[in-house]
Amino acid sequence: MTSMLSKRIIACLDVRDGRVVKGINFEGLREAGDPAELARRYNVEGIDEIVILDVTATIEARQARAHTIAAVAREIFLPLCVGGGIRTEKDAVAAVEAGADKVSLNTAALRQPALITTLGNRYGSQAVVVAIDAKRQDGRFAVYARSGRAETPRDAIEWAREAADRGAGEILLTSIDRDGTKSGFDCALTAAVSSAVGIPVIASGGAGAFDHFADVFTDGRADAALAASIFHFNEHSVEALKNFLHGRGIPVRRPWHVAR
């Protein structure tokens, strides 16, 4: 049997005050449920990984809540990544001790790029994800900080390269333009970043239909794709998505197919 690394489907739980919420273009939050309950459902449906993002954490200077992490970690035996409000090594340690396998750095990495290396040395680079929020601007992809509210002078492709050089294990790349719009991932952005770095790239922002995932895994060269609302509101199941991708010749993990 020739084995092939599966393309990962990752569910994102945007958490605020212990509840899952989801906005459009980073604004207008609506509630989607209990984090642990959603994680349990996704696990049964065959999700490959869970990301918890405390969407308000950076702005309101809050840490990702340890009890939310622990509650989700209790439900699943899958990789768990935590981001939002990881500003210091201490914040990262708290997240890992609560049950996170990986921490995602965004604004903190922009402010203090050495933190990527510090955490990579402490936990291994597989535990360090650098999240990049990018927006199309004057023919390039500008990097934004603070949950998409603060423009930075950085270019997404160059910043991804630097993050990889500093020891990031993965890039979580979000298109601000597409986030929450369900109009499809930004395949050009994803392909540009994925081709520029030797580490896996997770595409995020814009998932609205199964075709969008197929597109980002082929044209977008993504190693993984992340979505939130498409799964939260029971619009589509992870299982149906994976069966669709399998039918399109894209390698995915279908645990119900072999193990049950």
Binding site: S3, L5, G124, G249, P255, V258
Partner: protein, 216 residues
């Protein structure tokens, strides 16, 4: 009682959680000499091979001595790599050497790209990949060939006679080994869903058999 060896290589929260989920009794020894009371030994690990240098002569002797007492041993990720003679990731740090061979960096040779021209492989190898079994083993009893498990690593062990399962990423490597009571998995069984827990239960069954023998 299983000794879960904590030598500072990353976080053991998820391994502890998985052991709890399958009903294992375990503790984390603070000193190598405590291992003489263990009926199973787990060497976990994540990150750089160099951190295994913390497993100094006293730990090595205690683990080898446990093996002589027929105590089942399980290495996970870097913990499995450490069962080999060493790794090019940290050439000055010797492995335990109970399995012949040396771990090497994965090579980013061209990968299939779902109907597109091949692109260089990403390193580290992160995500779910499938197991191909070399032969029937206790570790994989009830696990279907092709089952997927979660990997995250940049270095890998070679295919050896003890190899129980191989995985291909560019080239085939040793995804798991079983040689008598020595077992190892390159993947994270504690992060591999139901399949991972089944593999852990299978290993635990060996510990229980060993427990019964010791009780005689």
């Amino acid at each position: 009682m299983i000794a879960l060896v904590d030598y500072g290589a990353g976080n053991l929260t998820s391994v502890r959680k998985a052991l709890g989920a399958v009903g294992a009794r375990f503790w984390t020894p603070t000193h190598a000499s405590e291992i003489d009371g263990a009926t199973g030994v787990i060497v976990p690990g994540v990150g750089h091979f160099g951190v295994t240098a913390a497993l100094d002569d006293s730990w090595r002797a205690a683990i080898l001595e446990a093996m002589e007492r027929s105590v089942p041993l399980l290495g996970i990720c870097v913990g499995m790599q450490w069962l080999f003679e060493g790794s090019t990731e940290a050439p000055d740090v010797p492995g335990l050497g109970v399995v012949h061979g040396c771990c090497r960096r994965l090579e980013p040779r061209g990968a299939a790209n779902v109907g597109r021209p091949p692109v260089p492989l990403k390193i580290p190898h992160v995500g779910w990949n499938s197991l191909t079994f070399s032969r029937p083993t206790r570790l994989f009893a009830g696990v279907p060939d092709g089952a997927q498990v979660y990997f995250t690593h940049s270095y890998a062990a070679p295919l050896v006679s003890a190899t129980a399962a191989r995985t291909t990423y560019g080239a085939p490597f040793c995804a798991a080994l079983e040689d008598g009571l020595v077992s190892g998995v390159q993947f994270h069984l504690e992060k591999s869903g139901d399949v991972g827990l089944l593999i852990l239960r299978n290993w635990l069954a060996q510990v229980r058999v060993a427990d019964d023998v010791h009780a005689l």
